[in-house]
Amino acid sequence: MPVYNLKVNGQSLSVEADEDTPLLWVLRDHFDLVGTKFGCGIGQCGACTIHADGVATRSCLLKVSVATEMEIKTIEGLSKDVSHPVQQAWKEIDVPQCGYCQAGQIMTAAAFLEQNSNPSREEIRDAMSGNICRCASYNRIEKAVQQAASKIS
């Protein structure tokens, strides 16, 4: 089995895995980074969102063999001490219900605010509409992204 060297959250990690293994399962099963969630496996729900070279990416569709060239950041690497403005806003607004989708929501929001730190409400709603929250905590996600944006800009 081939060995892949990956850069995850600033660390160099290597894994022996089948070449078509999605990065999602390498993160979860091999690296114990279980914050990145499995929801659909076809890039439709956003629960597995990570940053690949700073871009919000569905790790269920990113093959490990392709990810070797990229800087990967997961929810575990977003901040050392829950200090990222998006995490702070999530905490202050108390967004989660079941909490399962929230890491993906946070990663999507963090990448989006990197690109657009002063978004309109409609831009936020569009940017976040790729992530499903089955508990429908959407009102709070929306508010939290707005609040994080106000702190970043």
Partner: protein, 720 residues
Amino acid sequence: MKRITTPSVSRRSFIRTSALAGGGILIGFNLFQACKPEVTPPTDIVDIADLNFNDFNAFIKIADNGMVTIFSPNPEIGQGVKTSMPMLIAEELDVDWKNVHVVQGALDTKNFTRQVAGGSQSLRQGWEPLRQTGATAKQMLVNAAAAKWGVDPSTCTTNKGVIKNGNGDTLGYGEVVKEAASLKVPESVKLKDSKDFNIIGKDIHNVDVDKIITGKSLFGLDYKEEGMLYVSVVRPPAFGKKLHDFDATEAKEVIGVIDVFKFGDKIAVLAENTWSAMKGKKIVKAKWTDDSKLENTRDHDKALIDLLNGKEFDTMRADGDVKKAFAAADKVLERVYESPFLPHNCMEPMNFFAHVTDDKVRLVGPIQTPAGTARRVASLLDRKPEEVSVEMTRMGGGFGRRLYGDFALEAAEISSISKKPVKVVYSREDDMSAGIYRPAIKYKISAAIKDGKLTGYHLKEAAVNSNMYGLIPNFFPAGAVENYQVDVAKYDSNITIGAWRAPYTNFLAFAEQSFFDDLAELMEVDNIQLRLDLLQKVKGNTDERIQYSPERLEKVIKTAIEKSEWGKKPEGVYQGFSSYYCHNTHVAEVADVVLVDDQPVVKKVTCVVDCGIVVNPLGAKNQIEGGVIDGIGHAMYGDFSFKDGEPQDTNFDTYRLIRMNETPIVETHFIESDIAPTGLGEPTLPPAGAAVANAIKAAKGVRLTKQPFVKNMENKAVLG
């Protein structure tokens, strides 16, 4: 409110104390009176790590330094009980919430019957016993301090974990825990007056929020153990098919696949990691044969309509004589409402860990019914119930799906065969096609009008496999109409069904509240006034079966009129009204709809809720916002059909769930109350669909009677 009762508490049988090896006091308690009275307390000095929770279903640990750990008993599915149930204990214990640490308790398989997440009942049933427990612990600490000082305990007061006597001396809880542990449990304690609450009624953040937003291991899917194998299961592709034979030669060649074997009508693919298991599963060559009828949605539709038009019903409630009322009527209104099957689609797909060995069966995972599941596993594997243990992880949603332990039984059986610790993991496709759906249901509602008055109301239900539960016929408008009847009939299918958030009422409320708007139109009266007038007739009704309070329903309706600025919106904003009682909670909702390119868009929902005392407003509002949007999402988009027994949607590319750009803003208002709290996980969902449908009627003049609205073909002009 006379019909809401909280269980009485026999403290002596339900509270025991022990001194802890590491210092501190441990107080064990049973939450619900359904527990057996004879329980064995942990004896003498115990080590908390050794506790197997076999005696009590919850514990408070107070350490020497005054830190309090509360082991929360009930499963957490996102409804917030892991935060709100410990709040009740902490309130009466009188400690600072910031010194409270909450830990998920495990299952007691022997003694208790309601360690369940379901029916929006956790807070309602825990209200009295949880506060009693906190108060009892506090009294014991006070008694210990008073003895130390040589004063009368009644001269002592407490505040945030500190006891004070009349001389101004103080002792922290942690300083008297050792003494308190050896004291007698007091016979009776006084609970706080609600005006003295320091924690109840305050915005308390989700106790797991830091772990959630940093991606810590919390959920069943995150759980792993050394040597554990991941399992993908091949299940019959259609209801009505069974396994004939299979060839796993290629699957076994997949890197990481360890073993493939048959169990029952399923095939287990065991692998070193999830991906290998899923990949192996896809290339197992299975042959299936027909076992029973392969059903189609078209057949269900016809069968249910035939039932509604037929004569074979079970009558669940009959007041007066509806037949006579309809025969004498000046006008009759009749409407049929139709809903599809729905999958639950918890974001965390079903999964469970099992390790079956000669001496025990260990189960770990997300489950709403740990006790029932443990019993079923024991029976399946022919083991003694006490050999089975269940640890509950946080759940990535439940919505009723995790009431059914089918996935845990699979894991147990596979571990039993393979002699390995295993975790069964469903793909989304597995999750959506493995069964246990909200059943397809149709309602026919008829009303008889005589001399401008509603004289008869007849509700008929036709459902797949199972009909409404017994309390529902006693909801509104029972008691308000002289001649009133509820009839049910069912069609037996091989498609498995089960509870789905707010079972039955999730669609019945849509039917009924849509119907009342049309009824008002036919009667040429105001739609809300019609409801209020009917409620007047229920006031003073002594029928004990009636579940709702007309006064409380009236209050939420009137408050919703005010808060939503009903009838006062600018031109172009169309409002729809809906009110409902279920799960002991009274709700009224108003949806504001605007037209964008002539298509209706829901902009805002005003939701007024009477759930008694609001324990945690921050968490409560989250439940309400989610319930309303979930209700709208499924009414608009939720569709699930079968062809030859096979589910036609298996993932989110074709199965549509509501997304952020489609959501209204939900504005919540609570009715101030000092009545014991009632549930919030379900009751705001049922009325949401009708509020939207009634607003769409106002906007477009078209009545929607089928869900999902987007596939409502007769109304293609409305929703495209």
